[in-house]
Amino acid sequence: MKKMLLTGVLLALSGAGAVKVGVLLPLSGSGSVSGQAARNGYLLALDEINRAGGVLGKPLDLAFADDGSSPAKAVPEFVKLVTVDKVDFMAGGVSSATSIAISGPAKQYNTFMAWIGAAAVPVEDAFADHKYFFHYHPWSYYNFEAILDYFKYLKRSKGARNIAIAYEDGPFGSAGIDATVAAFKKAGFNVVMSEKFKTGSGNFGPLVSKAKAARPDILYWVGYDTDALPLATEIKQQNLQLGLIYGTPPSWPVGFEKNKLADNIAGLSLWLPSSPQAESRKFVAAYKQKFGNMTEEYFAPLAYVNLKTLAAAINRAGSTDKDKVAAELAKTNTPTPFGPLTFSKSLKTQYQGFKSGNWLHFQFLGDSRVPVYPVKFAQKPMVWNK
Amino acid sequence: MTAVSFQPSVASQQEVVLRADGLSKRFGGLLAVQNVTFTQYSGEILAVIGPNGAGKTTLLNLLSGVYRPTAGRLHLLGRDVTGESMEARCHAGLGRAFQIVRPFPEMTVHENVTVGALFGKAGVSLPEARERAYDLLERTGLAAHAEKAAHELTLLQDKRLEVARALATQPRVLLLDEVMAGLRPAEAQEAVQLVRSVQGSGVSVLFIEHIMPVVRDLADRVVVMDQGQVLAEGTYREVTANPQVVAAYLGTEEGLHA
């Protein structure tokens, strides 16, 4: 009798029966800015889910692990979540390299993965034959599709013809650069310059001089946050005349919007705090209430959506059976801060969430990021400097 | 100890082990060694003396191959080794012990000597080299210290090690650079005995020395250097009787008639 009681208590304490989701994020290392933002998104979602009754009648349980932005750390941490913490589902994932590194164990354990980041094409290859891989973030070719769409709009409305490309020489900037140039040309643009630079070196003098000689309408810049201010400064200083500076760093420098040099620079985001959509406003309010401040990192709402939809699917499936949950998650059709979310095939994977249509183009206008395209979401008219 | 003192007439019939022909070495504007010529015969102990700055150590560096001469040739056992590396000269039969002892500090005494035995001559296996090193330690009175770290030795033991290690390369000619420096008189006498025993084993010795009694006791022949040049050559008595040599050592009176 006593023994039974004890077992019962232990069971309750250990949370047996509660659904457990493992979250692997870069909380340290090069991807930590996005990782920390995502972590907040997950915590917010967890609060809401458990306040609404949890999953399968029990409070949902999250287990966080830090992949250190490095494959050698990611693999053991992933295995730990799956085998030690015995999580039922995996979520998270930001960097492509770590995601590829865990594709092996993921297949070995046949892990259910609801993945938010990792946009590089090799990730798609690595998970192409994985049955339970749900990818929320658009693949990099979708990103480019969105950019091309915007540039075509600029061609129509502003007469933009000449594009100069500045890309960092690492994997982030160089990914598919040849295809990018080809696509621009095919769309009727002149690629008047295509230059590599070393990220973090801050030495943009020669590059901008070269751009000046090429007389572009648009400077398309693919680099990191460290390059944003040096590039903007150099452009201003050398007085390079451009219709638009368009950049796609994974994150922007802290406080960049307050710098006058940031004015009119345009960029790409899946989401902005100022987004007018109802879901986004709800998210912003909840986030502010929980954390007392706001983030501009779209990984926060992305993580939030990720966990909310996963929890909803498990509840609909009525069990943690992977096939049933997968079937339910695949049927997701819900409004999110990014617009409606549904899953469909991508080039190589079964379940792709957001695609090119979800991207927003914004400009730094007067101390904040303001959506300017697609036109239906634009809050202010865009500024074209030619 | 058989007195192996060679008269020049006898020596000329001996095999020539080392011959320097007009060796010169220039460092920038300074001619440190100037047209030095001498011959050493088999079994002979040859001393090179001279006041500080006479160019003795530079000469030794030219002989062992640390420097390439600006002019002149060097023959070792009949072979021209002027352009050859230090290790090649070692293989050809030239050994050297340094003035400032340079044991390998992280090795044991025995390992230090093993290095010499192992690489000094081609085709020596490691077990053979280790055996030879032990033999040499016994011969040089270091047997009790074989497993000590080299940095634990006393200065005299260091010097013994330096000589033992050089001998381990099985040289025909051994260059000794002021090995007596820093030794007390009693210790220096022990070191003299050591060099004698080296000669007894058929090795020719060329040494630089400042301590005159040592030169007197050891050298068969003496080469006196001053200002980079050979000032005199001959037996110890001959050179010390040479007024030029005395002047070089004791100073002339020129300096005073001011």
């Binding site: 030690v84 590829i100 | 070692c90 340094f98 090795m107 390992e111 080299a129 047997a143 074989a146 022990e190």
Partner: protein
């Protein structure tokens, strides 16, 4: 020689190598061998992954140490590690792994001979900077090769080693570390050990004693980079993906150096112990400290230099000189 006569004239001739010295090493490998079979409960598989990367870190540290034994403190280890990884990524597509692995290592070994030959006369700071510069040049070249050749800056997918079987991979890494340790021991028992040590402790003296410095320095380079490249193969085959920026990063050159110094330079067991302790410490720390947990690496390096010149091995074998493994 009166005073010398007082001491004994004969000496106990000790063998160079006693089996007893192998006991700690045997323990290490014995433990590593049974590790996957230990009843570690739910943590077993996770610990197996950690253990795999620890073995790789040990391979890199020990191979770095072999080069350091010849007095060449290199910052080019990342280059050879990376060449191994890249060699395997490319060769592994056209041949079985057991052929691609040694071939990739051989390529790295041959490239190291070039570096070794031109840096022969450099030492200390100059050698370190030259090897660092070499690594940067290799990285840039690989990064700027056409994407169809080596994947450019994007990197390459790497064929999975042993079908991604974690336990099999562990034993392969175990095998490579064992091989590395055996090479290290073989060096210890051969003339290479004496040549390396002599060159390190006095290059000119070594030459006077007949050591062919060029030959032995190059040998050290070849052996070290060959083994480092095997470590690179293991890493790449485990993580399926490499890119120039991460593979050739300075951190990959510094980690083996720190590990060896912490564990104990110029020994076989030291770098392996260093890798084990540091890796475990890192694992414990990075879950509690997050950002900047590598502070420990800096601290360990500084404290070791200031207070523990012979590393962990110095703690284990106080006051013993020479003859160490």
């Amino acid at each position: 020689m009166s005073r010398a006569m007082e001491t004994s004239r004969t000496v106990t001739r000790r063998p160079d190598f006693t089996a007893r010295a192998l006991v700690p090493l045997g323990l290490f490998f014995g433990l590593a061998l049974v590790f996957p079979f230990l009843p570690l409960g739910t943590r077993a598989e996770y610990l197996l992954q950690i253990a795999f990367f620890t073995l790789v870190a040990a391979i890199l540290a020990l191979s770095w140490d072999i080069l350091a034994r010849s007095g060449q403190v290199s910052l080019a280890h990342a280059a050879f590690y990376g060449l191994g990884a890249y060699g395997f990524a490319l060769l592994g597509k056209v041949m079985p792994w057991f052929a691609a692995m040694p071939l990739a290592a051989l390529i790295a070994g041959l490239v190291s001979l070039i570096l070794g030959a031109v840096t022969l006369r450099l030492s200390g700071m100059y050698f370190a900077i030259a090897t660092l510069a070499f690594t940067e040049v290799v990285r840039t070249i690989i990064q700027n090769l056409p994407e169809s050749v080596a994947g450019g800056a994007n990197g390459l997918l790497v064929p999975a080693l042993l079908g991604g079987n974690a336990r099999a991979q562990y034993f392969l890494a175990f095998g490579v570390l064992l091989f590395t340790a055996l090479v290290s021991l073989a060096i210890r028992r051969s003339r290479l050990h004496h040549a390396f040590a002599a060159i390190r402790q006095g290059e000119e003296t070594a030459r006077v004693l007949g050591v062919s410095v060029v030959r032995y320095k190059l040998a050290a380079f070849f052996i070290s980079s060959f083994l480092a490249a095997l470590g690179g193969v293991l890493f790449a085959g485990k993580t399926f993906f490499i890119n120039p920026l991460e593979t050739f990063s300075l951190a990959n050159s510094i980690a083996p150096l720190t590990t060896s110094i912490f564990g104990g330079l110029y020994t076989t067991l030291g770098p392996m112990l260093g890798a084990t302790v540091l890796r475990v410490a890192e694992e414990l720390l990075h879950n509690s400290v997050k950002n900047g947990y590598l502070v420990v690496y800096g601290l360990v390096l500084m404290l070791t230099i200031l207070w523990l010149p012979r590393g962990l091995m110095g703690l284990l074998r106080r006051g013993k000189h020479g003859g160490e493994l």
